[in-house]
């Protein structure tokens, strides 16, 4: 008897969970890849805006990655960027975020700079009617290259939205707070590296991302690695950092 009751309670909980399983997930990404064989300066800027609007939420993010290296006298450089945004209402949790990555490889470099900036805004909608949902993504890339050398510059983008239909409408409980209708701006600004002697080889990679929860910062973190070589001396440095609210 107890076993049957427990089973019944379990089934009831399962049904409740199913009712609450409103799932909308959307993601978009933009990647750029620059190869510059001979230049005094190599720079690349990649940006993306993406938004999703559904009956229960709207979420928009934009991101920009900006990096450049100076190579007086000329040098080769490879700069790759990626921006990845997500937004979802998953089991009633409105979340989203932006991930950035940048990898710079250069020869004869005297300085390098990197800035990553993301903005996110999330809000709650509510409609008992059939509703049109929409997701949009805009991506752009542009690069600065040498006058004489050869170069290649590519841009790729993608967008994906997954919705899960619910069997019946359920009551909506909205807990609003001061952050709900705010725009969150997050910037990672790498300290610029300045060198009197050009580096024979420089490689810097940064992966930075943040996540929001009910439009409030839930997490941010980064992985950084650097390899720098001048003549017979080299330095490897790295750092991983995560902040969880």
């Amino acid at each position: 008897m107890r076993l049957a009751l427990a089973a019944l309670v379990f089934v009831a909980m399962l049904a409740l969970a199913t009712q609450a399983s409103g799932v909308v997930e959307t993601s978009a990404s933009t990647s750029s890849f620059l190869v510059d064989t001979d230049s005094d300066i190599s720079a690349s800027r990649t940006m993306m805006e993406s938004s999703v609007t559904t009956p229960e939420m709207n979420y928009s993010s934009n991101g920009q990655v900006d990096s450049h290296v100076l190579q007086p006298g000329g040098g080769a450089a490879i700069i790759s960027h990626n921006i990845y945004t997500t937004a979802r209402n998953y089991y009633g949790i409105l979340g989203g975020g932006v991930s950035f990555s940048s990898k710079v490889t250069a020869t004869n470099a005297t300085s390098s700079e990197l800035v990553m900036t993301g903005r996110s805004t999330g809000g709650v909608c509510y409609s008992q009617e059939y509703a049109m949902a929409k997701s949009e993504t805009f991506g752009m890339g542009i690069a600065k290259v040498g006058e004489g050398g050869e170069h290649s510059f590519n841009l790729d983008g993608s967008q994906k939205t997954v919705t899960t239909r619910l069997p019946i409408p359920v009551p909506v409980m909205i807990h609003t707070d001061e952050f709900v209708n705010k725009e969150l701006t997050v910037t990672f600004r790498q300290r610029s590296l300045e060198m009197d002697t050009p580096a024979d080889f420089l490689q810097e990679e940064v992966n930075f991302d943040y996540r929001t929860y009910n439009n409030q910062m839930a997490y941010y973190g980064y992985d950084f690695s650097s390899f720098l070589a001048i003549e017979d001396t080299s330095c490897n440095s790295y750092m991983s950092f995560a902040h969880v609210n």
Binding site: G22, A133, G141, A242
Partner: protein, 367 residues
């Protein structure tokens, strides 16, 4: 009948110095080799033994601290090659042993020294090396313990060190456990998962010199806060020229971890610093929507505007701006359940891991 003349001297010595400075010098030689030992220090004991033969010298010694506040400076020399170690601490320990084994039937030529030192909640200064490579380390520990060991020969140096915080940060384990179980509201009675306590951590610096190669380098590291931290250090010198040295820290603690940084430099390289950059976070009312952005068909104009901004920031030749626009529209048949559970009320936590390793191949070092 052959007569073999054996002249042998066996010598042993020991000292115990407590509360007073002691100084001891020894030298042994035969027709082939000569060696010497020098020791200064306080609050230590020391013992040595030597077997001296016309064709060989076999010597060994060792010493150790006997009080938390102690210091020593020791060197061992064989035929002009010197190895040395020293330590000074107000709350720690040290131990060292040296050995010489030279001459004999198999023509040995051994000079080695190994030194250990450690500190617990205090300061420690150590130095060790040989004629070609010298290392200095300084440690300031706050509720932190650090221990290192160095092994030295006339042409080699290697050392490793490891340290960690002595006691857990109150409430941190509960905080992490509650996060792992999804309980985001602290229970004051059973789980004081809030930040409290005293900052703890370590301030560490290592400096290396390669006098022959006229090169030097250093790493300074610091972590101090309500964090549980670990520190690992490493040096290796071999092949007469090549060397590497590095330091690594990792840990977890309540945010913000007050001080977390590492800086390093080596001859010929610019200063390297960690963290590598700053994270800025701000909230504001949503921006007024740009008409161009509202009208998605206006993106060509936006692209032109952004391209002009880029050209203004970076003069020179640009690639054409590449762009795309994707639009996806669909219907959702029923409203979904929207529930905003309370936001996490737990104190924020931070995890970190950082390190630096310098390597010198020695291409330019004079032979």
């Amino acid at each position: 009948m052959k007569y073999i003349l054996i002249i042998m001297a066996i010598m042993a010595s020991s000292i115990v110095g407590s509360g007073a400075n002691v100084e001891l010098n020894m030298g042994y030689y035969n027709t082939h080799d000569d060696m010497s030992m020098s020791l200064k220090g306080s609050n230590l004991n020391f013992g040595s033994a030597c077997t001296l033969l016309p064709q060989s010298i076999k010597y060994s010694n060792g010493g150790a601290s006997i009080q938390p506040k102690t210091e020593y400076s020791y060197s061992l020399t064989l035929n002009g090659d010197t190895t040395f170690s020293s330590a000074q601490t107000d709350s720690g320990m040290f131990a060292f042993k040296g050995a010489v084994d030279v001459g004999g039937h198999d023509n040995k030529n051994l000079l080695k020294l190994s030194a250990k030192s450690g500190v617990k909640d205090g300061s420690l200064k150590t130095a060790y090396g040989n004629d070609k490579f010298q290392v200095q380390e300084v440690v300031q520990a706050e509720n932190f313990v650090y221990q290192q060991q160095a092994d030295l020969g006339p042409k080699t140096v290697s050392s490793t060190g490891f340290g960690s915080t002595l006691t857990p940060v109150p409430g941190l384990a509960d905080n992490l456990m509650m996060r792992s179980t999804g309980q985001l509201t602290p229970d004051a009675e059973t789980a004081p998962a809030v930040a409290e306590g005293k900052d703890q951590g370590v301030i560490y610096s290592i400096q290396v010199q390669n006098p022959g190669g006229e090169k030097e380098g250093h790493i300074d590291a610091k972590v101090m806060g309500l964090a549980e931290s670990q520190l690992a250090t490493y040096t290796k010198f071999d092949d007469d020229k090549k060397y590497t040295f590095g330091a690594k820290m990792r840990g977890i603690g309540f945010a913000p971890i007050g001080e977390l940084e590492m800086a390093g430099q080596a001859t010929g390289l610019p200063l390297q610093t960690l963290p590598p950059g700053d994270v800025e976070i701000s909230y504001k009312d949503p921006s007024e929507t740009d008409e161009d952005e509202e009208n998605w068909g206006g993106y060509p104009e936006l692209v032109d505007k952004k391209a002009e901004e880029f050209d203004s920031d970076y003069p020179g030749k640009s690639t054409p701006a590449l762009w795309y626009y994707l639009n996806n529209e669909f219907t959702i048949e029923v409203p979904v359940y929207v529930y905003y559970p309370p936001y996490s009320l737990l104190d924020s936590v931070e995890t970190y891991q950082l390190g630096m390793v310098y390597s010198v191949r020695g291409d330019d070092a004079p032979s």
